[in-house]
Amino acid sequence: MKKINRRQFLKRTAVGALGFTTVGVIRSPFQTQFYSLAQGEAVDLTLMMVDYSDPVKTALEEVIIPMFVEENPGSTVTVNYSDWARYNEEMTTAFAAGVTPDVFQGGAVWSPQMARRGWAYPLTDLIAADADWNWDDFPPGIQSDVTVNGEIVGVPYRQDLRTLWYRKDMLEAAGFSAPPTNWDEFLEVAKATTVKNGDQFEVEGYHLSHVSDGWQRDWQPYLIWLEQAGGQFLSDDLTKCMLDQEPALNALQFLHDLIHVHKVTSYPGLEPQGDLQVIVAGDAAMQFGNADFERIINLYAPDQAGLVLPTLPLTGAIQATHAWVNKFFVSSQSKNPERAWDLLRFLTRADVLEIYSAANNNTPPRQSLLEAPYMSELHRQVLAAAPYAQTFPQHPNLIGLFRPVTEELEKALTGTKDPEKALQDATKQVNLILEDG
């Protein structure tokens, strides 16, 4: 084979590159589309569900959707199912190409991002014109979570409220009749319940729910401590990172000491087996978690029922915990945004939301549903944490901001970096991103 003539190769590549670049510039994929609103006509709507389980599928397909079709004759609803792991790719490609579902779900960080990207159809006017749907039934904190710059961009369907869970059997064996209520008591219990065999943990006094994957990684377990220390991630005007402040450091120092000084938790350490949480497997005495623990116990470890119980969030500087609020959006690319709103308002109507929440064993965001009959005793106990819940700040690039934070937290928790230094570095990096816009 002939040797490549380097100069020729470069020349031709350059010419080709120029040509293709020109094509690329001219044919920008960005196309705005205008659709006429088809009012009163029969339409086919698509709904994308991410937060679902088998019972939800059944409830949707056999109860909820038929109900909607009956109330809105002629309309049909196609349901697509997806999962959070692929959510980003799916939504990004869908919006880039202009083929999105009419109504779709989004997680806790998505209101400001959807608003910024212009992917969420503004709902304020539609909600205002819809008195009997009762927007005021949603608590103010949850309303503000979907309100971006004064505009309502989505409707919450779930609050993922986390609180402290503990092993009644292990606490009792260590001589505690009641779960801890503040950081000092917590530390005492954690020390007493830790069981070690040499350097190896057999039972962790506290399990730091470190997620080995995902962009929330160590941020998620740290967040609750941060909030209990009275700290916050961003300043109220969203222009500065507040992680170099005293409360943030107190929280990280406390977590760091749990690992490296008191040695009541391992890092990186025990991991859940699939869905079976460490505390349910009997390998930890305390852990933060949501109402879903109950389902896991019933499914994978029925013999543990009654041993793993929730309690109120701890008090550090303040009593606090975090709630991840998930919501429905109407796509800005929907051909029939008003009919899509009909579907959204139907799905989040109290009676329908109750069916959905019951099927998924979720905590619904409507006040009128907090006494819903489907909720178990344990679920109600988790719900008692609601008054202390905080939500994420409304920055449109939260996922991007979280990355340097998780990385620096990881360094501090593994003991490779001083907590104070780590938080300062995280703050610097976050501030850079904030300035970059």
Binding site: T21, F30, R117, W215, Q273, I399
Partner: protein, 309 residues
Amino acid sequence: MNIVTQTPAVKQKKSLGQRLYKYYNSQAFVALLFLIIPVGLLIILKIYPIFYNLYLSFTRYELFEPPRFVGLRNYKWVFQNDVTRQSIWNTLLFTIEAVPLGTALALVVAKLLDENFYGKIMYRTLYYLPVISSIVVSAMIFRWIFNPQQGLLNYFLGFIGIPPQTWLSDPNLALLSLVMVTIWGSIGGNMIIFLAGLQDIPKEVLEAAKVDGANAFQRFIQITIPLLRPVILFVVVTFTISTFRNFGLIFLLTQGGPLNRTNTLVWEVYMSVFANLRLGRGAALSMVMLVMVFILTILSFRVIRERQG
């Protein structure tokens, strides 16, 4: 190569049909005929997107407003940012750890399976199983195998007195864990290619060496490996490429962590494009990646050519 024209030596006037046929049968035209669909498709599927990427790499593009030209800023970001610099290093490290060992193991297995013995086909099938299974399934199984408490790996290591490790969450072991899964998943495929190559080695040469008193190991080192060099090159190149672009495992098992020890270039591309919606940065990263593999491939070709010469 010396396929030359097959026209008769004597020149004579040709009819239109003959001339048309000659044109039709010319190498250039046949090449055009055979290449137009495959190359056309590849232009749409690969070349155009790559050049589109090249264009994007000089812009800031967040999908919700048109791209804005920013010059070399994205490239500056790639080379000045600690995380992306680490990702370049991790990509190389991943390749260096996985490719030589994986290739050597595949070669050894292929050699052992090349002999005639009872159950050969069964063994080949067993070794090929990991290739058959989808990456989603493999990753799920390995997540369980690497589990620190109940995982299979720690269970077996316990027999030889090695204390439990936290594989995927341990900064020093995470990349190694991915390397193990990669090798596990690649031996079968590479083995098939080596088996094909082994069958082409003339038996007479090996017999002659045997008569000369070379033992099996010597024959393998002195005859088989040199004769297999082109096949080894093929495996090394394709394996390197697949390691470079290995996205699924990282996505499913470590998501670039812990401490960014497994954040390869392709992971950073993904993060830039899909998590941060900075398509320009992602494009710049993928161009860097492209150049790196291109250099590696050219290098491999060079090395083998020199050895042959």
